[in-house]
């Protein structure tokens, strides 16, 4: 197992943690559970969203940095194969993944700031929309990364 494979696995594990955290947080603001929450879905929605902010930012940065490191290997070893196979939609999906990830980086300071504001400050709509946007980016990037990884195959 080479270094890139190890980094890819760590990248994937960090992405799973990020996916869970941002989905919990997005559900807590867009589908808040009645109190007291009952059942699995209710408890999933009932988390205190603010408690996830720092973890989400750290996980996003770590996942992006690791993705950036293994991106060079992807460019040579995977993208070439995807192009040769004529998988244009998959290739385009990855192009969107890299740009969406970059755009997500730019909103992290605002995301942090608006989660720090008390709800009475009137900026909860901005906070909620930034959370939804980050959740979309994380889900898109996770699924596209997973699909592209499956196309090339492990260790091939």
């Amino acid at each position: 197992m080479n270094t890139t494979t190890v980094l890819l696995i760590v990248h994937g594990l960090l992405a799973v943690a990020l996916l869970g955290a941002i989905t919990h947080q997005a559900a807590s603001v867009w589908l808040p559970a009645p109190r007291p929450a009952g059942g699995f879905v209710g408890r999933f929605r009932a988390v205190p969203g603010a408690a996830y902010v720092n973890a989400i930012i750290v996980l996003y940065l770590l996942t992006a940095v690791l993705g950036g490191i293994i991106y060079a290997e992807y460019r040579i070893e995977v993208r070439t194969v995807v192009e040769q196979l004529g998988l244009w939609a998959q290739n385009g999906s990855f192009e969107l993944k890299e740009h969406f990830a970059a755009i997500g980086l730019g909103v992290l300071p605002a995301y942090w700031y608006y989660w720090r504001q008390p709800p009475s400050q009137g900026s909860t709509r901005t906070r909620d929309l930034l959370t939804a946007m980050l959740a979309f980016i994380v889900w898109w990037n996770f699924l596209v990364g997973h699909i592209l990884n499956n196309i090339r195959g492990f260790g091939s």
């Binding site: 060079a72 999906s93 969107l96 970059a102 755009i103 980086l105 909103v107 942090w112």
Partner: protein, 112 residues
Amino acid sequence: MTPPRSFSVFAIVFAIVYAVVYVVAVEKNYALVTYHPAIGEFGAGVQPPRDGPAMYWYGWLATSGIAALIAGLLASLLPDSVTRRLWSGWTWATAVAVMLVFCYLLRNFFLR
């Protein structure tokens, strides 16, 4: 810890400038650095491919990150009376608009 009001100005301007500069940098290829993955070397500015493909993504990130940092810091120095009406929604609205622009720019991947 409650961040100061000037941080909100920084964060809003950073998000707007970052997204706009990023899409312009990609479209016009204003990359601060070029990476040559086949030989593992970085080069300053936009360079042609060497012994394999050239990667500009890191350079686009650097270009937009530095531009946004400078703009955000300068904006945070402006008086409160100037920045008070800055709409916080520009943070997500600009980012979503730029994401849609990328969907349009890359549409040919999906229409073949």
